[in-house]
Amino acid sequence: MELSYDIGGGDFVNAGRASSAVKGILKQLNISAVLIKRVVIALYEAEVNVAAHASAGKISVSITKDVIRINIRDKGPGIADIELAMQEGYSTASKEVREMGFGAGMGLPNIRKNSDTFNISSTPGEGTELEIINRLSN
């Protein structure tokens, strides 16, 4: 099954819509609650990152009998130092983002924690791409 969603930069009203839709679909597929939670938490923090840090993003979700693979690609400032950005507590979030309950530099580490395989790449000035892969069986 292939799904895709658009995310708007700065759009905190709609951030979470894709995660919500994916959660509903995974429930219908009778996937375990523990795995659903891992997938949607990772996706939700990634959605929030596009809203908080980028100008537009696209999510593609591919579900097979073995794996849930999510790709989030955005247009935005990108990340110059990925190793630094991955550190817990590192954040360049604005005051507005912090007032939303985010911007503590915990998103990327939590995305990695909730992924079986996590890949991140970025071109400064162009954008960022994340891949979040979770296996259905172990």
């Binding site: 905190f12 009203v13 951030a15 979470g16 995660s19 919500s20 959660k23 609650a33 939670k37 949607v40 938490i41 939700y44 923090e45 929030v48 939303m100 309950g101 985010f102 911007g103 503590a104 915990m106 998103g107 939590n110 924690k113």
Partner: protein, 114 residues
Amino acid sequence: MKVKEIAERTGARMLTGNGGSSREVRFAFSSDLMSDVLTRDYEDAVLITGLSNLQAIRTAEMSDIGVVIIARNKEVGREMVALAERNEIVLLKSPLSLFRISGVLYEAGLKPLF
């Protein structure tokens, strides 16, 4: 503890439709930082927060948190109520501060999650 008792002890008003008052929770977690809420696992838990926005409800949805209390009578938007209802989250609003809600419910027997 039933939601009804939580509401009574904290002077809270239930903002989502009926049916939620008989829901039962055993644990509670207080936070305004949604990223922090999202790092933990919940079962039978209530989230107590001073953050009154859509992301607080989204966070509860993603974290499988069934009951949310908004502290200090912060204004709760209609969209928040609708989102909570869609996700079968019981949404309450209390005039008490985050600290007092936490204290009252702790004393009444709700267990800390962490």
